[in-house]
Amino acid sequence: MPKMITITQKACTGCRQCEMVCSVKHTGTSNPARARIHVVKWEAEGFYLPMLCQQCLEPACAAVCPKDAISRDRELGSMVVDYDRCIGCKMCVMACPFGSMGVDMGEEHVIKCDLCDGDPTCVNFCEAAALKYEDTETANLSMQRASAKRFSELMRTSTPDLTGVE
């Protein structure tokens, strides 16, 4: 899959605008219960973690589906539910280890993140930049660089000459 939605937990402010706009985009109503993304909060500690479908490369949801209704979108790489095949048994809901397959009782079918056809609404609205839509292959690099920076500052001061010429 070319791009993925990445979560920078520390940046999340818990505003849940992602939930609201996701539900408006998909259902025309403002209703976090029908959003494909949810911010899990520990209010007493101020810890907020957006949770959504990880578009697994070996998805548990597809594995348990008795009707093979969940398959990969060739272009986006996301896992998509074919509602014509889906019987709503909700085995996928129970199987997903992230709890990211939900049930929308308005439409009466299972729901999951579909990356909004390659232009994720939640990402577009996240001013805190906790959600980004990034190149899958290189998504880890910015975190890696940020982590390396901490080491580099330490190393630069303790070993000023890194060329090893001695």
Binding site: C15, V24, T27, E127, A128
Partner: protein, 635 residues
Amino acid sequence: MALNRKCAIVDLSTGEIQIKEIPRELREKYLGGRGLDIYLLFNHLQPGVDPLGPDNVCCISAGLLSGTPASASARTHIMAKSPLTGLLGSSNMGGFFAPELRFAGFDHLVIKGAAEKPVYLWIHNEKIEIRDASKLWGSDTFKTQELVREELGDEEIKALTIGTAGENLVRFANVITGHKNAAGRTGMGAVLGSKKLKAIAVRGTGGIDIADPEEALKYDQKVCKDIVSTKFGQIMQRWGTMFIYGVTNSTGLVRSRNFMDNQLPESEAIECENIDDHSVGTAGCFGCQLHCRHRYIIKEGPYAGTYGEGPEYSTQGVYGAEPDCRDFPTILYGNHLCNKYGMDTLELGSLVAWAMELYEKGIITKEDTGGLELEFGSTEALIEVTHQIANREGFGDVLADGVKGAMARLPDEAARYCVHVKGLSNLHSDERPTPSLALGIATSTRGSDHLRSRPAIDIYHLPEKVLRKIYGFPVPYDGPLTSEFSDYEGKPWQVFWHEMCYMAVDCLGVCKFHTVFLSPNMPAFREFSRWLKLIVGIDKTPAEIWESAERAYNLERLFNIREGATREDDWLVDRYFDEKTTLGLKMVRDKSIDREKFRGMIDEYYHHHGWDLNGNPKAETMKRLGIEHEPSRVL
């Protein structure tokens, strides 16, 4: 449909719960939120009741746009007769309660009577239950919300609650949701405490239909991007309201040592940058991209390890400027305590600073304070008195009675040092150099306050051209407007304009930081109109929205008149006129408010409102606004 949310009338004395539709005609006239609240309060409350008795009525509401794609659509409003002032009690808070109330199917709650034993309301998907709260009573605001979630078995439940301050009927007890979102002013927590209503828990999975979802999202995105592109937006994201302190204190617009000084010298230790030492990030209310509160863990000292959220600009006054203290961790800890106990930081700060001035002048002594050394500069006394007030112990019990109550228990000469209007204390702003801000606090419908009508942008010296654009819409204005905050000219119209603007956002349930409050570049009537069209599907021109705001504001005025307020109450304490400022920049030094000019401003202010010289709405104004037959008891 945003318009199909219901109103529930809950009688805690009888246990009766009525669920009613909100008539379309009331929506057309008042929109929702604070506007509908005053209609309901005016109609359901008998004048002359004891605010802490069972006959007081408490209205709690979500705004018409709460929980929808309007920027920062998070707000809840709470209204009742105030135990502090005996007049309108009215308070607003952010967080996540209002959207959840709407998802549960309700926009308005009217709470009447009083329970015999502590109870809480459980509202979930169109159902309401009154439940026993004996296991919650005695818990602080944080613990209460946790216990409610545990008892009801759902981590997603949102709740508003009172703390021990509310239980103890501290007259300025507040209502809290989340960790620090507070309906702070006018003692709404004491009202709920008197009704033995410990909390309201809410959970909903019902959606709000959006009239034009695609356009609403596009518009929301545009508005959000516009807001965060402003300097104000970026500063709020970074520092929260604490940034204001640097501006106002360096100018000389901050009360210090109660009201003796208009600046706190050498206050770098309590300026906003200090939050970086303790901050672990920021947090935002529902749908808000400004996330203006910090999350902090106090780094060192006696309060190390305490988790808290905020603090706000007012807290820098409460635990900083007013008591002449310069310890940032004390501000963080005091803030946390007030949130935990559930009481209004602002009221506390002003009352304590007053007491400190009395102590310094020997009007009260160590004997009166039960040994508590209430000296300016004492952070220990500040924290100690905070505990005392919340628990109604020692001298704290006196201050817990608020301005009027404390005055009755203190020597007569104490009264002249107290800074308040109508019995509500003032923020730590010193309005002597700013007639427009002084007019705002004198005339606000809930007493001295900075959120009803503060023309804060008046201190920015905006060019007249810009002022005309703002203040000439949606109702034309040809009178004077000046860029100087020291002028008296033209200011009454500005105060009027802001009253209407803030009333409108309070009806819509949108945060005031997202309107023309601290920045001229924020949404106002045009944006309100567009939101209503795209989200709710109703056609309201900017002028019609102004009219709804004016209608509700006049009802608030009538409410106060009915409770005995007169023109005399639209005034300032003598200190504003008789004591001149001594510190700060040249333009704010040696200033006091001129009585005659101020009298003239009040006259002009009444004139703009269509009120007579006694401040009573004229018959033709009431007719124009369609309120001549109130109370009409439509709902």
